[in-house]
Amino acid sequence: MSTTTTTAVADAGAGRPSPRRSADSNRPGLRARTVRESVTGYTFLIPWLIGFFGLTLGPMIYSLYLSFTRYNLFSDPRWTGLDNYVRMFTEDPQFMQSAQITLIYVLVGTPIKLAAALGVAMLLNYRDRGSAFFRSAFYAPSLIGASVSVAIVWRAMFANDGPVDNGLSLFGINLGGWVGNVALVLPMMILLAVWQFGAPMVIFLAGLKQVPKELYEAAEMDGAGAFRRFRAVTIPMLSPVIFFNLLLELIGAFQVFASAYIISNGSGGPAGMTNFITVYLYKRGFADVQMGYAAAMAWVLLIVVAIIAAILFRTQRSWVHYAGDSR
């Protein structure tokens, strides 16, 4: 799922025609060539366009339609108006719980993950020696992180009498297994997400390399300490990267599925504590064949993600600084 998202983000950026062309087309002699060029351009875009309309937009519109119906895969969808949405918010405590833990997972997990990524990136930026090795070492978990094998390993690590349980009891902390514990399973899922901080870390690292050294030197001369330099130089200079990472990670976190599905054996347990929205809608759709209801949940999820993205874009003005901006 996450791969699809990132590709779509990249494609949407790449798919925009170059602004230079509009200036050219004002000159009459060049018009024919411009048209030819556009045709060529769009021809090259065809594979992506087919994918977008056939595999993304079309199914999306159909799923919007389905969200207003009852559809069990076997007989034709039956129009029920807003029933699915009403049921979700008034009659389905499982959905409410699912929404709640998904929000906790996203809102707690993402900042921790970004903080970890930034912290490690700054350490790596501090000294150059061996940084290539450490960069790869820290990046590795996020390459394999989404895979099935890691989730299985994670489940084994946090099981009763697993390495984590035994390790903690060396320090006199006896928590037992995390996997079956209603209170600890969500922190465990968040830890799994945090551990995969490699991707944002690499982006942070690239951003840190761009911060001009003079700024730090000037700040130091003015007597700024390490924390002050971090707050007054690093953070503002890095704010576009932070914004980018934050947006991507938030959207990614909402889509958590594979790890939760595997760790809970597809049940979303214990007591629904790993029943994230995606897991729940998958179960409703494919185990209970309530496709209409599942589609409605997918749309609620989409709208929530869109709202959060919109809020981020709104607030961006007040805390994101772009180099060369006069603001």
Partner: protein, 439 residues
């Protein structure tokens, strides 16, 4: 350098990115399915059949053996089999059912039989009964469980019945005698005795698990009063009061008599019984060998007794098909498929190879050939011993019964955690039922 992040491009990207998940959440699964050469059946012609079942690699090995035996007799029928775990198995069948392309021969579960039959996805086996599919070794009731709306769409491979397992070794440890039978209250008293004795001995053991978390125990209590859970027409046959009373009856044992829910979550997907923290459990009788396997080598025997009695002399129990075999309505080789189904169910070779892996063989010829290990023999004896309590099987479960069963189990957990009241639980269940029955 991060200028490109500004403005609409990223905004659009983010929106599309999040939109894709709305979509991808609804795709997934699917694919695969049957692909057979277009040909009409002829005993001499080479035919390829696809076949699916649920289970683990142990069962898959057995199926492979049986298919090899089948090919000794029918070398012209090639069988391509595949298997998945139970939930994934049905997720895959559902998408195949919707898109076309169900396998020629498939393992069927009672919970899905009605849905698949009523949507015309399964072949009516009537023309093959008594000729290709030998019905002589199958009892009438057994064949009857695979009938929906007058059409025979599934043949049971094996049967099971609701029963109660006890753990003699643990009981000896705490010095309590095995459950001697009685009504539900006697059972609760007995569980309390075990829990108390274990607490006194300092052993981490409880008398049992909260049986009100399972719809089957509710079902047999209702049947004792002459009512199946659902009528022939699929209408619910119990009231909110019935259900409230049932869940209420467990409130005392949830307070320290049965295994605490927290402990059960820790051992999931195992149960309290096969992790040796519960001395008894009500469940399907074919769970025995799995229980023994999970309990480990120190445990060599289990007790298997009748569930508590609701009404003396009532016929509340019944034999359920633990698995059926069905044929896709779209198969191009119905005769070949029926031949395979007959072999998988009736042949002595299949009985010999499967033993009780799928439950106690439904077919007499298969059962006679099966060499039952002690626990399987115990289960077979148990099913014979409850004959007086065996009534007619309930109508084939309503469409979506699997969802209701799961909801029931989940509500049971929440009652165990104490996160909902009995009234809320009843409300939730009836809401869910309303949705499922009007799906």
């Amino acid at each position: 350098m991060f200028r490109f992040l500004k403005g609409r491009a990223l905004g659009a990207g983010a929106l599309i990115g999040s939109a894709v998940l709305a979509l991808s959440a609804c795709s997934g699964g699917g694919g695969g399915g049957a692909a057979e050469p277009a040909a009409t059946f002829d005993p001499d012609e080479k035919v390829t059949l696809t076949m699916t079942f649920w289970g683990n690699d142990i069962r898959a090995g057995l199926y492979e053996e049986v298919i090899a035996a089948f090919n000794e007799e029918y070398p012209n029928i090639t069988v391509n089999s595949s298997f998945l775990g139970f939930p994934e198995y049905w997720e895959k069948r559902q998408t195949e059912a919707a898109g076309g392309g169900l396998p020629d021969v498939m393992a069927m579960d009672m919970n899905y039989l009605r849905q698949y039959s009523q949507n015309g996805l399964l072949l009516d086996l009537e023309p093959y009964l008594g000729n290709i599919i030998d019905t002589e070794p199958l009892s009438e009731e057994i064949v009857g469980t695979g009938v929906v709306d007058g059409q025979t769409t599934g043949i049971p491979t094996s049967t099971n019945a609701w029963g109660m397992y006890t753990n003699p070794k643990l009981l000896e440890q705490v010095g309590v005698e095995d459950f001697q039978g009685g009504d539900w209250e006697d059972y609760q008293d007995w569980m309390k005795e075990v829990t108390d004795a274990a607490a006194a001995a300092g052993v981490q053991l409880w008398g049992g698990t909260d049986y009100t978390g399972r719809i089957q125990s509710f079902e047999i209590q209702q049947r004792a009063n002459g009512q199946d859970l659902f009528t022939e027409d699929g209408e619910p046959n119990f009231t909110e009061e019935d259900l409230a009373e049932y869940w209420e009856s467990g409130s005392e044992m949830r307070e320290g008599i049965t295994v605490p829910q927290q402990r059960l979550e820790e051992v999931y997907p195992l149960s309290g019984f096969d992790t040796a923290i519960a001395a008894s459990e009500l469940t399907w009788d074919n769970f025995g060998s799995g229980y023994l396997g999970n309990l480990g080598a120190e445990y060599t025997e289990l007790g298997l007794v009748e569930p508590p009695v609701t009404e003396e002399g009532a016929k509340d129990l019944y034999l359920k098909a633990s698995m059926l075999h069905s044929i896709s309505a779209e198969t191009e080789h119905p005769e070949a498929a029926a031949t395979l189904v007959n072999f998988l169910i009736n042949s002595p070779r299949s009985g010999e190879i499967f033993g009780s892996n799928r439950g106690i063989p439904a077919s007499e010829t298969a059962l006679e050939a099966a060499e039952l290990d002690p626990i399987s023999q115990q289960i077979a004896d148990y099913e014979a011993s409850i004959e007086d309590r065996l009534g007619e099987a309930p109508p084939v479960p309503v469409v979506g019964y699997g969802t209701l069963e799961e909801k029931f189990r989940q509500i049971g957990q929440e009652l165990g955690f104490g996160t909902i009241t009995v009234d809320e639980a009843v409300d939730q269940f009836f809401n869910e039922m309303d949705v499922v029955l009007n799906q």
